[in-house]
Subunit: 278 residues, 2 copies
Amino acid sequence: MRMSEFWYTEKQTPNIGITLKISDIIHSEESEFQKVDVIETNQFGTMLVLDGMVMTTDKDEFVYHEMISHVAMNTHPNPKKVLVVGGGDGGAIREIIKYPSVVKAVLAEIDGRVIEVSKKYLPDIAAGLADPRVDVQVIDGIKHVQDLKDEYDIILVDSTEPIGPAEGLFAKTFYQSIYESLKEDGIMVAQTESPFFNNDLITRVFKDIESLFPITKLYLAHIPTYPSGVWSFTMGSKKYDPLQVPQEQLKTTNTKYYTPEIHKSVFALPKFVADLLK
Amino acid sequence: MRMSEFWYTEKQTPNIGITLKISDIIHSEESEFQKVDVIETNQFGTMLVLDGMVMTTDKDEFVYHEMISHVAMNTHPNPKKVLVVGGGDGGAIREIIKYPSVVKAVLAEIDGRVIEVSKKYLPDIAAGLADPRVDVQVIDGIKHVQDLKDEYDIILVDSTEPIGPAEGLFAKTFYQSIYESLKEDGIMVAQTESPFFNNDLITRVFKDIESLFPITKLYLAHIPTYPSGVWSFTMGSKKYDPLQVPQEQLKTTNTKYYTPEIHKSVFALPKFVADLLK
């Protein structure tokens, strides 16, 4: 008897895709904002898919969640109040609350269904959401930061791709609101797509953030299930330079990807990426 | 009228694959050693495929070819004689001959058809093969190094995957021959697959090379068309430490990926990769 094979295939651009063998479609729904699927893959375990785009998987989520959070968390000497915009799966929150300095971590996720689905099907990723320091708000992140001043030490923009509900999270007006919502020594980090496929976006966002923040830097990480396998993060910082952090301030905090050496090395960019920022 | 769409899909493991929209199958043959295909892709331009595995593409070949060669070429203060085992597309040779110190660069490729097909369909990659310092030999690299002593400054193992014709290029006996073929201050670099999918191979090869060379280090680069998008290279060095190279010795030599900063930063490994080498 020949077995049927089922595959999830995602066009990451019109011309390239990733395909993963799957054993089950665990959950599928249309939320108010997007299509939400949870799929069991053979290679990467349980996978969360929003609007047909891989958001996270059990096996490689650690890279994204550590790298969007620890670089900023270790650049700031004493992060107490942190905001995650998007990030409904809870992975960034889980990393943030590893820091004893954190008094409050707010999650502003527009789609409550992403939070609920993640809690149910990706419990290891959503684990941090139950921490008493975490304030989960089902709210548009843009509205959340609109009238805030001087509130947060760190803001992470853990968004989906810049189409659909996350489009406004790549706008300069949003970065301006973030700037104002941050304390005078605050830091923001946004996920900013692939340097192989999203060059124009990376250049534009970098210039926007650079026009607001005195210290703006881009760094990279290897994420196999994201388009091209390499992902960029853009940091805007009001005071602290991630490359000037004293070595003894860098903590490892139980990670699988991030290390004190990685903290600095990820800012050394391949020439073609550095050229995007000129 | 709806247009037909053609896609090349490669299972990179039994459970995950890459799929690329193609406009043409330019060339297809069975050589003595393997299936050789040249495909025109929309995303990555012309692509060389051996035995159903992407070897190189016009658009991302620069990463692999620069990173397999420049790290060693800049670690050695005066590389004169260099051997590339495999690498029939000529990309590594093209990078090596950018160094004026090079007097002779030998290509030992077992499959002459790969050389000819690359010259015809990937001329920008094969460009260096016509240089008068280059000695192209259609020969088994294992045999080439078997009886050599004290011959080369640098040997690069630019192999296909460790199945089929390249299997012996991942064997400890081969690394032993390389060790002996190198001068007393020689350096070897081998491509050693993906840290997400080939953990056992990386660990085993690292230990083998480490048992021969006093300085053994692994480094990574982002290669979108290779499995997982991140690729490892293992360096064995008899004398020179790539992290101790004086900054003024590091050259940029007209690259798109490699820089003097990349030279050092690529050795800072994500924790899960560093753990593979313990």
